[in-house]
Symmetry: C2
Subunit: 111 residues, 2 copies
DNA sequence: CGTATATATACCAATAGATATATACAGCGC
DNA sequence: GCGCTGTATATATCTATTGGTATATATACG
């Protein structure tokens, strides 16, 4: 068995497409199949990896299984990235502005 | 030839250790060897991949080559992560606070 | 109870990536 | 010029992952 990390999980382009497909809400497996262009067993295998890595959760309903994203790995990624924030500081303003609603940034003209 | 993405580049733990080793400034190849626990040719091969992926730049000096981090891939990663910010919003305060020096967050006493 | 549908798993061939060993090349000091 | 050190590349081997086909399991429905 192999334990995937956040990065190795996202290293596969098919899995990134699946994550992308789940961005706006939960999807049944077959819906995902139609979106990512891999056959159903392939999608199921990737979903298992995504599940083991904590990226997705499942909600069974009838014969279908609805997958949706979990937040933890994204937080982990954000935390990792924080260590390197000096390298994308130039874009921090952008970033910060994205948070406006939640915690407005005080622009002080570069101080 | 294989073109690595930001994620597949970081998928390898040795490369993450190399990036980590470069976090606080440039290092010569042999210094990195001592830090990451892989033999020198191995480090060189990983450095090549990191270079091709835009993670590092080189400054030759005498026989040594000093490697240092570039910002672009980190910005790319941050941009990707932005699409999923709804998933780590809970931690945004933390995040935002990390920026304090640059753009202080207006704490509204949790509102 | 039997059939259809949705999903998961097993097995396979092909491929990609990692590590180590050996080798080549370049700059420096003597 | 010669050897020494630092760095890069080539080769071989090994392991892990991918995607496909076929099959198994589970739930719904008539």
């Amino acid at each position: 068995m192999y334990s995937h990390t956040v990065f190795s999980t996202l290293a596969d382009p098919t899995r990134r497409r699946i994550v992308e497909a789940l961005r706006h809400g939960e999807q049944a497996v077959n819906d995902i199949v139609g979106l990512v262009g891999v056959d159903q067993p392939g999608v199921s295998r990737h979903l298992r990896i995504l599940h083991e890595a904590g990226f997705v959760q499942v909600r069974p309903h009838a014969q279908q299984r609805f997958y949706s994203l979990r937040s933890e790995p994204f937080r982990e990624l954000a935390a990792w990235l924080t260590n390197y924030r000096i390298f994308w500081e130039a874009r921090l303003e952008h970033f910060a502005r994205a948070l406006d609603r939640k915690a407005p940034v005080r622009r002080k003209g570069k101080q």
